[in-house]
Subunit: 155 residues, 2 copies
């Protein structure tokens, strides 16, 4: 069970990449190279983000995509909701309307779990993702290791 869709994963990579880059504006090709997302598909994901108002696009020479808000003001949840919204369980999937808005214990638990995820994602900003890889390493503070400093390609 993948828990996060490819589409959401790609959208998050793209936004992190945009937030980390020196360049204000980046083309699909640049973002694709920097995040290892298939360019054609990425293009669609970026369009979704654009329609949702998280990024803006500029056609033509010198164009590309850039963030609308600062990385500190954009949450993971916003990105996810823009491309592949988390579906909360609102009423019993079995159709037991016997208990109206009350869920079966099973679906109550499942929905609680989703609420947790939602909350975690709401509480995390893109800016928090621009630091070094892991809290476990101490040598990592030497150099900016993440927000995707990609070597050419793995094959």
């Amino acid at each position: 069970m993948a828990m996060f869709s490819q589409t959401a994963e790609y959208a998050l990579r793209a936004v992190v990449h945009l937030a980390s880059g020196e360049e204000e504006s980046q083309t699909v090709g640049q973002i694709a190279a920097g995040t290892r997302v298939p360019a054609g598909y990425l293009s669609k994901v970026l369009q979704s983000l654009s329609r949702a108002g998280l990024i803006t696009s500029q056609r033509g020479i010198g164009g590309g995509f850039r963030l609308v808000k600062a990385a500190q003001e954009t949450s993971l949840l916003e990105v996810i909701q823009a491309v592949d919204p988390i579906q909360r369980i609102r009423n019993c999937p079995l159709g037991l309307d016997a208990h109206g808005a009350n869920l079966c214990p099973l679906h109550k638990r499942l929905d609680d779990a989703m609420a947790l995820i939602e909350e975690q994602c709401r509480a995390t900003t893109i800016a928090e993702l621009l630091e070094a890889p892991s809290p476990r390493t101490k040598a990592a503070s030497e150099e900016k290791l993440c927000a995707f400093p990609l070597t050419p390609a793995p094959e």
Copy 2:
């Protein structure tokens, strides 16, 4: 984003149904009717649960499926892992082997979220799901409202 696959949902319904029924052993048809899961597909899901050792099957007249362990001793997680295992993120999906077991901050957060889910599911037993619909209602204690007391069909 569905967060839990149909397959996992169906497996959980089936196990809850088995745990709640008076009958020890139930056929695919009975479980399908009691959970509103397509019988053909349910059959496969039950086979997965059987291979995983959570339920046993008996062919022929009087046969069917029954739980191996008591409902108090089976967790949501076991059921989910049996049919559609939660995939934790073990190494950076971008292929940044620069930081070995350390994840990018992005994937660290996503994996943390999945760890939360895993923990919730591990801590919840099937037995806990056999009670009345919601903690918010007080009138609900009158009668066993859940573990799926299905009326014929919604259409």
